[in-house]
Symmetry: C2
Subunit: 288 residues, 2 copies
């Protein structure tokens, strides 16, 4: 596996592959790999000739009081893990190379990026869109793979790709969970063992909501179910809802009543310290 550190080296390599007719896949990440990331990389390995994994903790998508400096980093560990699943290039550019002096351009997806996590984290999705656009132009992939755990991010990027006619296929990969149901996330590293137990409140809320939705014999008002889910979560000490929403799968607009396209999306803060997100379809056949 090759380690690449500059946008120009990455672009040169991608150009060569393109000229050789190779199919390129990109998996954008912020590192501190877990089984969720590795699943995306294995998927990329199946789909393409050349697999690029980008590793960049993107300052532009962190708010001023968020965990940019605390975010876990270990290039050595990540290099071994990526090499282990057959990645061709681990692309880890520096902040200086990605945002040199004079940088001033941004990409915004207006409505999809506004609510849910966008409301709690203003500017977050502008940062995500901008860096993803840069990474796509640098590595020229035929396809890019994103995890469904960050469901709003996936929707925003799909919309950006469609609206700006990006010649890239956006592929979604299902959330990977621990046996306990907790969705894998690099931020789980912030949790002590007892907090890992608390963090299961998100998964339990999903199971609770799906049971409620499936058991309903008539149209279930989404607002009522959201309130019940919030109560379900906040019955556990230290579990505080940031938001709970039931939205249409594609537009992320609030549902009136739970339907086949309804998705539960939520963010919960554990002990006022770690903000976790999770999501699931309520009535479709999607497996958890």
């Amino acid at each position: 596996m090759q380690l690449v550190h500059t946008p120009s080296a990455m672009a040169t390599l991608a150009q060569q592959w393109r000229e050789q007719g190779k199919k390129i896949a990109l998996v954008p990440t912020m590192g501190w790999f877990h089984e969720g990331h590795l699943a995306l990389m294995r998927r990329a390995r199946q789909e393409a000739d050349q697999v690029v994994v980008s590793l960049f903790v993107n300052p532009m998508q962190f708010g001023p009081h968020e965990d940019l400096t605390a975010y876990p980093r270990d290039l050595q560990r990540d290099t071994e893990l990526a090499a282990g699943v057959g990645v061709d290039v681990l692309y880890a550019p520096s902040v200086q190379e990605m945002y040199p002096a004079g940088f001033q351009t941004s990409v915004r997806v207006a409505r999809l990026g506004k609510g849910l996590c966008g409301a709690s984290r203003p500017g977050h999705f502008d940062g995500v869109c901008t860096v993803v656009m840069k990474l796509l132009h640098q590595s020229c992939p035929h396809l890019a793979i994103f995890g469904e755990k960050d469901f709003q991010q996936l929707a925003v990027i799909r919309r950006m790709a469609l609206d700006l006619n990006l010649p890239v296929e956006i592929i979604a990969h299902p959330t990977v969970r621990e046996d306990s149901g907790l969705a894998l996330s690099s931020r789980n590293k912030y949790l002590r063992p007892d907090e890992m137990e608390q963090a299961r409140c998100l998964y339990r809320a999903i199971v609770f909501a799906r049971e409620k939705a499936r058991a309903a014999t008539c149209a279930l008002p989404a607002k009522d179910l959201c309130r019940e889910i919030q109560e379900n979560i906040e019955q556990y000490e230290g579990c505080k809802v940031d938001f709970v929403a039931i939205v249409e799968n594609d537009t992320l607009e609030n549902c009136e009543a739970v339907n086949e396209n309804s998705r539960l999306i939520m963010a919960v803060t554990i002990n006022n310290k770690v903000r976790l997100i999770d999501n699931a379809s309520l009535l479709s056949a999607e497996l958890l």
Copy 2:
């Protein structure tokens, strides 16, 4: 010459050319071709194997009270002119194909797009950046050619390409002028013959400013020269300055004193009706 009307047909064609190793040039236009456009097309013809000229009057870059509906259009005439200089594809998509229902993404170059024309036309450069990004993704060119007449547009697009790592070379082509000195523009069509004469105030102001700058024996304060230029323009009846600025060539920031990198940029309204722009380097060897 082939006429292409949909983004998907354009993308398919570009993909085929790429696979055949052809070099592609894009000349983005809003149509109503004049010698300025034709010069860009001839330049593209020299530089590339396949020349695409896009023709799209982009609603997103017009303000609510601007001349979107009045903007001159004649596809038949433009088709003949483009074919005459050896263009391969005239790409004229519809507004519905470019901005389908649900469209919500935009690209912004923050500082460069804010002053000068950006101040008189809020949102204008967001519209320009967004449509250029779309056209580049649709036609996958190796290079794209822009006229220096729209100097701020050129600077904004250069910055966008750099910041977002677009794998496209941005080429600038000098302004083409009538014998009278008037810069060619599709909007000149709005001028009656006597107004064409009035419109020469922009060129006369450039000549005046260059003479002043060249004659100065010590550092010339840009502010003072701007005031003189404005007076020079407004001595002619019906000629009203929108802005006159002397800025650094790359950053478009105001110069304190006139220097080798200074550029005069201005917008003037003729008879409260037609807004014209022009620009020139003040001290470099650049020809008018």
